[in-house]
Symmetry: C3
Subunit: 129 residues, 3 copies
Amino acid sequence: MPLARIDISNKAPATLVRIISEAVYKAMVEVGNVPVHDKFQVVTRHAPDEIIYPTEGYLGNQYTPELVVIQVTWVSGRTTETKKKFFQQIASEIHEKGGIRKEDVWISLVESGREDWSFENGEMQYGPK
Amino acid sequence: MPLARIDISNKAPATLVRIISEAVYKAMVEVGNVPVHDKFQVVTRHAPDEIIYPTEGYLGNQYTPELVVIQVTWVSGRTTETKKKFFQQIASEIHEKGGIRKEDVWISLVESGREDWSFENGEMQYGPK
Amino acid sequence: MPLARIDISNKAPATLVRIISEAVYKAMVEVGNVPVHDKFQVVTRHAPDEIIYPTEGYLGNQYTPELVVIQVTWVSGRTTETKKKFFQQIASEIHEKGGIRKEDVWISLVESGREDWSFENGEMQYGPK
C-alpha cells in the first residue's frame, strides 16, 4: 500500500537509483509486512541546489551531496520497533549494495488509513467491505 | 484546500496532463465537497525509470509506463463512501477523456487539519477564528 | 525534524530559491521550535503547466506563475497560534527578501509522529528510548 518518494541527485547513476528502489521495497516486504509486489515509487532527480541539507551537519552527522531523501506514505499501525528495523535495513542495504554512506540516507514516514488507497480501476482495494 | 501531486511519464502529452488535472479537480468539487476554484496541483514529469511499479503486477492488475500516480493531501473527515466515489470518478474521467487505462490510475490520500493550510498572504484561511 | 518540499517555476532564479529555502528554515527555527540546523528540503523546478492554480483566483486572491508551493511534513503538536505565525513569517520573508507577492506563497502542513524519522545511519533519532 505504500508510496515511496525518492529524491536524489541528478548525478546518481541509474544503477544506484535501482539499488535504492529495491532496498526500500525489500525492507517494506521483509520488515514492514507489506505484500509482495506492492511496489510503487516515484523518483525525482535534482540539481545540486535542490536537495538541501545543513552544511553544518545535524546531530553530529555531516551530509554530502549524495544525500538520498526517502519519504514513505503507508497505512498506520506499524510499531516503533518495526519502524526502527525498517530504517536500519534501508540504510544498510543502500550502503552495502550502493556504496552510499549510511549517514546520507534520510527517511521520513507519513501515515494514512486503509481506505486512502486506490491501486487501479478507481477501486478502494483495502477499504471496509 | 487540497494539494494534488500528479506524477507522470515525461512522454505524456501536455493535453493529457491537462485532462488529468481537470479530472482530479472536478472529482474534488463534485464528490469531495471541495470549494469551486480550490485547485492547487503540482505535476512532475518523470523519466521511464522514475515511476516504479511492480512488473509482475499487483492484485491481478498489470501496469504500463503510462501509470499516473496521484497523491492528494486534504482535510480529514471525508467518509469512506465519498473516497470510493472520488477514486471511481477520477479513474473514469481520465480513462474516458484521456484514453488511459483505468488500471493505470493510482491514487493515495493523506489527511491533515483545517489549520494546516495557508492559501495566500501568510494567512490561515480555514483555521479557528 | 521537518521535511519541506518546495515546488517552484523553472524560471525562478537560483537566488530566489535560496531565499525561499532560508525563509522556510528560519521560520521553522524561530517560530516552529525546530532545532537549529534541522534543515532538510527538496526543491523541484517546474515547467509552466506543472504548477496549477485557479486562473479565476481563490478566496478573492489572484495567483501568478510565480506561485510557490511549500509543503512541510513535521511532527504533530504545534498549536494553531504557532502555525499562524509560521505562515505569516514565511510569506513575509519571501516577499521582503525575494520580491514575491505574499499572495503567491502557498503552504500546506502534514503531521507525523516522533518515531517517523531517520536522519542518518538508519537510526530513529527522536523515537522513544
